[in-house]
């Protein structure tokens, strides 16, 4: 997958974030890592299953709002 290349400044900022995170205990990191916001359609069923990942990806592309980002990268 082709993705953008970060510039040097961005790399330095990320390194600083990784350093800061490494100083925090896992318990603290997890406390702030998991957020919960309502995702339309995706959160509207208590259970879903798919025979194949391809079927799941197709369902995401077809049914979910594109802004959720679950559709294929173009």
């Amino acid at each position: 997958m082709e993705t953008r290349q970060p510039d040097d400044r961005e790399r330095r900022e990320w390194e600083a974030e990784f350093e800061a995170a490494s100083r925090r205990p896992l318990r603290t990191r997890l406390r702030y890592a998991f957020i919960h916001t309502y995702k339309p359609v995706l959160d509207d069923a208590t259970y879903r299953s798919f025979d194949t990942m391809a079927q799941y990806r197709e369902w995401c592309a077809r049914e979910l709002p594109s802004w959720l980002g679950y559709g294929p990268a173009v």
Partner: protein, 157 residues
């Protein structure tokens, strides 16, 4: 809406899955976060070994954790559908039996990283699965995740 997934919930998964002997790995961004990746995510993704035996113990562990599974749903997990999304329990979980970009569970298991008793996919596998999934949100997150992989390889304990 289910409560947030926090350290206590991760411990509950780890301990219940260990009691029942479930073969699994944290994968996706939740796996990366366990490795130290500073970011946010909405749910935990677990990569489970496919097979009736592992599916059976996974169902038992999930029910013990409080997931309300009907018998047809339990059967699907035992059979190992490729992807199961659970929103019927104490927190949100995605079960992945065949993540994109990873050949077999055994391959990923050999490369796994243990973090405080949590079995986690190696960053290379997390990245590979996101590359293969090729979703818009993965394209956004991959450059930083790749940078974290480099940092992690240089600094891993």
């Amino acid at each position: 809406m289910a409560p947030r997934f926090e350290y206590a919930q991760a411990e509950e998964v780890r301990d219940a899955f260990a009691r029942h002997g479930v073969l699994y790995l944290f994968i996706g961004k939740s796996g990366a976060i366990l490795l130290g990746y500073p970011d946010t995510t909405q749910d935990a993704d677990l990569f489970l070994a496919k097979g009736a035996a592992n599916g059976t113990v996974a169902v038992a562990a999930l029910r013990e954790l409080g997931f309300d599974l009907t018998e047809p749903q339990a059967d699907e997990i035992r059979r190992g559908k490729d992807f199961v999304q659970l929103r019927s329990g104490p927190f949100d979980l995605d079960l992945v039996f065949a993540p994109d970009g990873i050949e077999t569970f055994d391959d990923a298991w050999r490369r796994r990283v243990e973090v405080e008793g949590f079995p986690v996919c190696h960053p290379d596998d997390i990245i590979r699965s996101k590359e293969a999934a090729n979703r818009a949100k993965d394209r956004e997150s991959l450059p930083r995740l790749r940078a974290f992989r480099e940092y992690w390889l240089r600094n891993r304990p």
